[in-house]
């Protein structure tokens, strides 16, 4: 697959450490919600680094691609993408990549999304794609996040779930919860899965994205609550892929 060039047309901070980069890619062939791209940065001495980032935007006709990138303290690429890049800069992209961890608007079955931290990004593309397509597929999102300030897309998620009864949203805070939050800060567990995700008898398709350890534990919990492993699609990121 060839490398394409995208031009930065907008930048928006999502949290203190994460930023959304909007690129205009003239020869973009279109994408499906859930896909990712590889980004290549090349230094003046020829050294290059490639990292994968999920696409946050829904498929659109404007050939715009949004990536939300979380800065890693010792990252090689993410500090540049979150701090230094400016509007009208160019980036090399390879993609769209992936045909398994995707949601298509023709899917009508219940959908269970489970995000760990910045694993929300490809799931947000699915939520946006659903809204844009006018789909009525029932969606539930369980979003596990360290603290309230680390939530991506909070207002948009709230607005989407306020206006649509078949889009349900649950936050699970792992370190710090808002005041009077019913559940003390902790990782997702069997009780939370049982109370907030689709009953397995409805046979939802589940999409789980986050760091490897999160994905392993969330998919294990979904399986033990009766979901068929074949219906659980996963995408993992970690320090080696710098996908955070």
């Amino acid at each position: 697959m060839m490398w394409r060039v995208g031009t930065v047309v907008a930048l928006q901070d999502e949290t203190a450490t994460a930023r959304t980069i909007t690129l205009k890619v003239p020869d973009w062939p279109g994408h499906i919600a859930g896909q990712h791209v590889d980004v290549r940065l090349t230094a003046s001495d020829g050294y290059s680094a490639v990292r994968s980032y999920s696409i946050a935007s829904a498929p659109n006709a404007e050939k715009r691609v949004e990536l939300t990138v979380e800065r890693l303290p010792n990252g090689e690429v993410s500090p540049y993408l979150t701090q230094e890049i400016a509007v009208s800069d160019c980036l090399e992209l390879r993609g769209p990549i992936g045909g398994w961890f995707v949601w298509r608007a023709k899917q009508t079955e219940p959908i269970q999304l489970v995000a760990g931290g910045s694993g929300i990004v490809p799931l947000m593309a699915m939520i946006r794609s659903r809204a844009l397509a006018g789909s009525t597929a029932p969606f539930r999102l369980l979003y596990s996040v360290r603290e309230p300030q680390a939530v991506f897309y909070r207002e948009e998620l709230q607005a989407l779930s306020d206006h649509d009864r078949s889009m349900n949203l649950t936050y699970a805070y792992t370190r710090v919860a808002p005041k009077d939050w019913p559940r003390p800060p902790s990782r997702i567990d069997a009780a939370l899965i049982a109370n907030t995700t689709w009953p397995s008898k409805l046979v939802p398709t589940c999409y789980v994205c986050g760091p490897t350890s999160f994905v392993e534990s969330a998919s294990r919990l979904l399986t033990s609550s009766g979901n068929d492993p074949e219906k659980i699609r996963t995408e993992r990121f970690g320090p080696t892929g710098e996908r955070q």
């Binding site: 990712h36 994968s52 990549i97 992936g98 398994w100 490897t212 993992r236 990121f237 080696t240």
Partner: protein, 97 residues
């Protein structure tokens, strides 16, 4: 072998590199492990990217399915851990190719 749980990613992470070789998406492809016989989507394979190349391992038995190294304008692809790779051609229609 006792890999640390956070040391691996999955087949999705290998798809960009493999797109240089395969004309079709490999993440949705089903592969059969030559060691245990399990048939799984390539997206589910455990992928290790710390070395000079990448290694995809069976998510059931951890045996290597695929090794990929790109060096000096050459790509070395070792597929002996896969008995069969079944690619979905419907995506060619979808993308208009």
């Amino acid at each position: 072998m006792n890999p640390n749980i956070d040391d691996y990613l999955d087949g999705n992470a290998a798809a960009g590199e493999l797109s240089n070789i395969f004309a079709m998406d490999v993440t949705a492809a089903e592969g059969q492990c030559a060691h245990c016989g399990a048939i799984k989507r390539f997206a589910e394979a455990h992928v290790y990217m710390q070395g000079p190349g990448l290694v995809a391992r069976c998510s059931v038995c951890q045996h290597a399915l695929l090794r990929f190294v790109s060096a000096r304008q050459r790509v070395f692809l070792d597929l002996r851990g896969l008995t069969c790779l079944i690619l979905d051609t419907s995506q060619l229609v979808e993308s208009g190719r």
